[in-house]
C-alpha cells in the first residue's frame, strides 16, 4: 500500500532492459538469413541483356553454373577461351553433370522437382560450350534451365 501511494501520480518508466534482447533476436534473424556466398569469380561474367525475363526469386532451388573467359590473373595460363566455374573452381564440361546432380541431391526432396539450373554465361562466350552444358544437363534430367541475364535492351547485345 505504501509503495502504491508513493507512486500515485507518477507513471512508471518503461523498462528498456529487454531492448538488447529484441535487437539480438533481430540480429540472429539477419545472421541466419544472410548467405555468405562464395562469390569469388574466377571468370569474367558480363551477362547479356534481355527484356522478356522471369525472376528467380527463390534461391533455395537454384543451382548456378558460371561460364566466361578467365579473369586477368588466370589468362596467361588458361587463355581467353570461356571456362566453366562451379562453386569457386574451374571445371571441365564433363564435371557439370556430376556437380548439378550432387547439388540436386543435397536439396530436400520436394525442391528437387522444381530445381532450376541458372546458367550465368558471359555474353562473349561461344555457343559450343553452352550446347555441351545443355547436353550434360539433359543427361541427368535437369531440364529446367534459366539463361540468367540482366534486364535491358536485348538488341544491345549485338555489337
Amino acid at each position: 500500500m505504501y509503495i502504491m501511494r508513493k507512486n500515485k501520480n507518477k507513471l512508471p518508466q518503461v523498462s528498456t532492459a529487454s531492448l538488447p534482447d529484441i535487437v539480438f533476436i533481430l540480429l540472429f534473424f539477419f545472421m541466419t538469413v544472410t548467405v555468405m556466398k562464395n562469390n569469388a569469380l574466377l571468370v569474367e561474367n558480363t551477362l547479356p541483356n534481355a527484356q522478356e525475363i522471369e525472376k528467380l526469386d527463390k534461391q533455395d532451388r537454384v543451382i548456378d553454373v558460371v561460364v566466361g573467359p578467365p579473369v586477368k590473373k588466370y589468362k596467361s595460363v588458361l587463355g581467353s577461351e570461356s571456362r566453366i566455374q562451379l562453386n569457386g573452381n574451374f571445371a571441365g564440361v564433363n564435371e557439370v553433370g556430376f556437380h548439378v546432380f550432387s547439388e540436386l541431391k543435397k536439396m530436400p526432396e520436394q525442391l528437387q522437382k522444381v530445381a532450376i539450373v541458372s546458367l550465368k554465361i558471359d555474353k562473349r562466350t561461344q555457343m559450343g560450350i553452352v550446347n555441351d552444358i545443355k547436353e550434360e544437363l539433359k543427361e541427368i534430367g535437369a531440364l529446367k534451365i534459366n539463361y540468367t541475364t540482366f534486364e535491358g535492351d536485348a538488341l544491345s547485345n549485338l555489337p
Binding site: T16, L19, P20, V23, F24, L26, L27, F30, M31, V33, T34, L47, P48, N49, A50, Q51, E52, I53, E54, K55, L56, D57, Q59, V62, I116, S118, L119, K120, I121, D122, K123, R124, T125, Q126, M127, G128, V130, N131, K134, L137, K138, L143, K144, I145, N146, Y147, T148, T149, E151, A154, L155, N157, L158
Partner: protein
Amino acid sequence: MAIKRETPEVNAGSMADIAFLLLIFFLVTTTLETDAGLSRKLPTTNDPSKIKERNLFRVNLNGSNQLLVEGQVLDIKDLREEAIAFLDNGRLYSGDGYCSYCKGNRDDLSSDNPQKAIISLSNTRETNYGHYITVQNELVGAYNALRNREAMRIYRVSYEDLMADYEDGKLSQEDKAVFKAKIEKIRELFPKNLSEAELNSK
C-alpha cells in the same frame, strides 16, 4: 578506509548499441539478390515425331552471327514480327484444329494453328552467346505478345500482369487457383513450342 571486495558489475547499457551495430552490418550485407533471366525447358529427347514443314519455323544463327529464318537472311529486329506472323497464322479455315482467335494471314505455307506451330532454333558452335540470347529474347517476346493479346481479349488484363499477380504471393488460396486456371488457359492458346534442337520435318 573501506576495502572494496566485490568487482564492479560490467555495465550492460552499451550492449544494445553493440547489437545495433552488428544488426546494421548484417542488414547492409544481406542482399536478397534475385536473379532473372529467360527460363527454358530442355527437351527430353529429340523426338523425330512427324512435323509438317509448314508448321516449323526454322531460325538458324550461324558462326558469323547471321540470322537465317526459313531459308532467308533476316535482320534480328524483324524477327519478332515474323515469329508472330508465323504463330498467329492459323492456316485452317474450318474443321479440326481451326484457330478461331488467330488474326494472321491464314497463309497456306505457314502454321496450321498455334498448338502445332513449332519454332526450331539452331546454332553453330561458333555462334556468340549474346546474339543467341537476343534471338531467344525476341522469340519469347513473340509468344508473350500473343499471350498478352489473348489475355487482354478474354480477361481484360495482360498476361504479364496475370503472372506478376500470381507470383506476388498476396493472393488467397482460392484466388490463386483462379489465376492459375487463367494462366493455363492462355498458355494453352499459345503454347511455347520453342525447340533448341534441330528438328527434321516429314
